[in-house]
Every structure is written in C-alpha cells, then in structure tokens.
C-alpha cells in the first residue's frame, strides 16, 4: 500500500470518464458513467498512475489523500 486514497468530489465530477480509462485497476464507472473507486486504497505499484490520473481529470474532481479508506 502507498498510504494514499483516491477520492472523487461528486459535485465537481461531470462523469467524463477519463479516470476509468486511465486507471481501470482502481476506477470503474457506474451505470450512469460516474466513477466508482475500488475500496482498499492505492497500491504502491499504482501510485504514479494514480497521480497522473488525478492530473488529467478535466473537472479537477479527483484527488489523492493521505490516509485510510475511512478517513
């Protein structure tokens, strides 16, 4: 584990879906095209991809927080 958690700001998110294409290991889309983050935090091996995914979100709706799933 990287000690990082991906979070979506559901108000900012517009359902563009780039995140799910960039990081399908951790992000899937619901039936309406909005991202669902897999629970359990970001594995260390995917920390770089997670950072890149946060960067490419056109709505700046994705962020990486330090902490646990519940924090």
């Amino acid at each position: 584990m990287s000690g990082l958690v991906l979070r979506v700001d559901p108000i900012a998110c517009d359902g563009r879906g780039l995140c799910a294409e960039a990081l399908p290991e951790l992000i899937t889309l619901d039936d309406w095209g909005f991202p669902v983050i897999q629970p359990g935090g970001v594995p260390a091996a995917l920390a770089g991809e997670a950072r890149e995914t946060v960067r490419i979100c056109p709505k700046l709706a994705l962020r990486l927080d330090r902490g646990t799933d519940h924090g």
């Binding site: 108000i11 998110c13 309406w32």
Partner: protein, 432 residues
C-alpha cells in the same frame, strides 16, 4: 397543519412542571393556541440561562452539555457538545438555528417554533455564548416566519447576540447543514462540497455551528437546570425527550413530546391510538426505515430500533394501515426524493431517478427487475456530497424487505391496497 397532541394543548397545570422528570418540556401545556409571549415564557420557564462570563466558564458549560448527553434532534443525533467544542476553537464564530424542516411529513420544528419560539431563541443565544458568537441566524419554515420575527422583535437584542431571521428554502435537502449555509450565503439550497468542515469554514468562511431548533430548545433547558435535570427522562444511553410527528392509522395525527425510549405502542397512544390494524411503520423520516408491526413493541430509541435496522431520525412515525399499499406509498416517496435531488452529484441525480422509475414500474405491476433495482441501490449508496442519496436508498431498501410479498404480488398484477387515499404526504411535482 398538524396539531400538538391533546395532552400538550390543554389541561396540564404548569405549576411545578419544571420538576426534572415531567413532560412536556418543550411545548407549553396549558396555554391557548398561538405562541407564548416573552412574558408568558419567562413566567413559565424562568429567566434566560446566564451566558458564560469567561473562557473557563465556557468550557465548564460545554462540559455540562456533554454530561447531559444531548444529541442533534434534526435526525443525525451527533453529540451537541462535540460540535460546540469544535466551533468554539475558532475566531468570530456564528450560530445557525436550523428550522428548515424540508421533510413534508414532519411538523415538529414548525410546531415548536409556532408554540415556543422563545425557547429556541434562548437556546440559540446560549449556544452563541458557549462558542463566543455575536450573531445567530434563525432559518425557519415560511409558515412560521412571522411568528419568529415577532418573537425576535419582542426581545430586541438578547445580551450580545444579534438575531437574524431567514425564511428557509422549501426543499427536502435544504435542511442539510451545508445547504443551509449555502442558502443564507447565495440563495442556493444545495449542499456544499466538503472538506472544509462547517466548524472550520462555514458561513462567510467563519466557524459555524448549525443546530436543529429542537436541539437548541433542549440546550436552553440544560443552560437553566443542568445535565442531571435533562437526564431525568429518556434512557441512560439516550437521555432526554424528543418531539415526534405521528401520522397515518392513528385517531389524532399530532406532534407530541416523548421520553426517548418510550415504546412505540405508547407513543401511538398519544395520537389517540391506532385507528385500525397496522401492517408496517415508517420510522425516522422519508430517509428512514420501514419496519413491520412487531416494531410497535420496541422502545423508540436508537438502541430499541437497532435490531430492526431502524433509527429515530427526526422523529417521524407513520403507521401504515392494512388497506394501503406500502410499495405504492414507497414508490411515490421515492419519486419525490429523486425529484428533490439538488442535482449536483451524478449518481444522486441519475441514479435516484432510475431507481424511482423502476420502483414505479414495479408498483404499477409492469415488468420490472428487482435485481436491477438492488444493483442501482448499491451503486447510489454513499455516492453524493451529502447523505440524501444514502437516505433514499435506506428507505427504499427497507421497503423491499418489509413489502417483499407485495413486490411479488405486484409482479403478478395483484395489489394489497384497496383504499384510494395515500398516507404519506408528498407535495405536487414541480416543473424541472
């Protein structure tokens, strides 16, 4: 308009009512209809609680609130002392007394403000003293706005606290704490993104205490009489009293005040008792839970209802008669809740709409998929900026459990409902 319960409206003598273990506390018995004037209020409850004089005094009184065990009566039941302590730590804080009560079936906050506005003002002023605020906003339902204005005018300025009255937005989610802040700031009755917490950065960036008006009325009593007095009613784990709105298959639908933990059957007795057989009860609110008739034997408290997966929420209790279809009732409320989405978060806006549509098909006896419904409920839960989608999911999921056999009947084209009149009040649909 729902009336206060008969035992609150007349008869009870008020001499000696302030003994710790007696009801009612919040709604003045023995007064004619209409709000208590400031003079009546003081004669009945005694002078306003004294504001703390120093920082140590503040901490001591917040400690007293903690010992009292008061929790938020807006529905979430968060410990009030923890909120007070969080906001008191910051500079230039502000109090918001939340009387929005956007829940169409609930009337307890409106009745409280209409009957005992000064108790809420006492509580708001006392809370302001506890956190060092000079300003308290009163956000109230339009039906009681004039009464609250009059009460504020009667008092002038209570010590150092300036009251500002705001008419609440008449929407379901408008009562969510950050939505109240958003409404005051910009006239938008929709939740704000979090973080930041309102206790850190709320109204105008100031530390903000948002408390339900009933919670503040209880706080006014803790300020007057202390924690021991407050704890003389209710249970050890859930002390105090709470207001409930009782509707449905009861003889006299009303708002009543109960000790937390009173058995549901006894609570329905305050509304004149049941008017016929009851097949289910909706508990807490439209974001609450359906439970079967066995719930009537349970105490109305978080502990008493936990086994049913239910909670007391904002105190709504609806007894569903046997001749009304619970599935059809739920479908109507689900449509209302979907329409009341603030529309900010995709899963709530699109997901609740899809759920409401599928549920309506199910209730109408059209081909519908329970599996799809359950998948969507799972996808919507926990996916919004506020708890609106979660609450809707909770209520609908409980209906699918409690009315499981009806769902099967509907799939075959049968319905248990024979009465034409719906039980759960829902306002007419708005143009979107």
């Amino acid at each position: 308009m729902i009336r206060p319960a008969p035992h609150l409206a007349a008869g009870a003598r008020h001499a000696g009512w302030q003994e710790a273990g007696t009801l009612p506390r919040l709604l003045p018995a023995g007064f004619a209809a209409g709000p208590a004037t400031l003079a009546e209020h003081r004669a009945r409850y005694g002078p306003e609680p004294a504001p703390p004089r120093s920082h140590p005094d503040r901490l001591r009184l917040i400690g007293e609130v903690e010992r009292a065990g008061l929790t938020g009566r807006g529905g979430a039941h968060f410990p009030t002392a923890r909120k007070l302590a969080a906001v008191a730590a910051g500079p230039d804080p502000v109090v918001i007394a939340n009387g929005t009560e956007g829940e169409p079936a609930s009337a307890k906050d409106k009745i409280l403000l209409a009957r005992s506005p000064h108790l809420v003002l006492d509580g708001a002023a006392f809370a302001a003293g506890l956190i060092g605020a000079r300003e308290a906003y009163l956000v109230v339902h339009h039906s009681v706005r004039d009464l609250v204005d009059e009460a504020v005018a009667e008092r002038g300025r209570a010590g150092r606290v300036r009251f500002r009255v705001v008419t609440a937005a008449d929407r379901f989610v408008a009562g969510e704490a950050s939505a109240v802040v958003h409404w005051i700031e910009r006239g938008v009755p929709a939740p704000l993104p979090r973080p930041p917490r309102l206790a850190d950065q709320g109204l105008g960036g100031r530390p903000t205490l948002v408390q339900n008006v009933e919670t503040l009325a209880h706080l006014a009593f803790i300020g007057r009489h202390g924690a021991g007095w407050f704890r003389a009613l209710g249970t050890e784990a859930e002390p105090g009293t709470m207001l409930v709105t009782i509707l449905g298959a009861v003889r006299e639908p009303c708002v009543a005040e109960i000790a937390v933990g009173t058995p549901l059957q006894e609570v329905l007795g305050l509304a004149g008792g049941v008017s016929g057989p009851v097949q289910a009860v909706l508990l807490g609110g439209y974001s609450g839970h359906w439970a079967g008739p066995d719930a009537l034997a349970r105490p109305f408290s978080a502990a008493g209802l936990a086994r049913l997966g239910a909670s007391v929420g904002a105190g709504l209790i609806v007894a569903l008669p046997t001749d009304v279809c619970g599935l059809a009732e739920t479908a109507r409320v689900a449509r209302y809740l979907a329409d009341e989405s603030a529309g900010q978060c995709g899963p709530c806006l699109f997901g609740l709409d899809a759920v409401a549509g599928e549920l309506a098909r199910l209730a109408d006896g059209h081909p519908a998929s329970l599996a799809t419904l359950h998948r969507w409920l799972g996808q919507v839960d926990g996916r919004g900026a506020c708890a609106h989608p979660d609450g809707a999911v909770r209520m609908i999921a409980s209906a699918l459990r409690v009315f499981a056999s009806e769902a099967e009947q509907h799939a075959q084209g049968w319905c248990c409902g024979t009465a034409g009149t719906p039980v759960l009040p829902v306002p007419p649909r708005r143009a979107r």
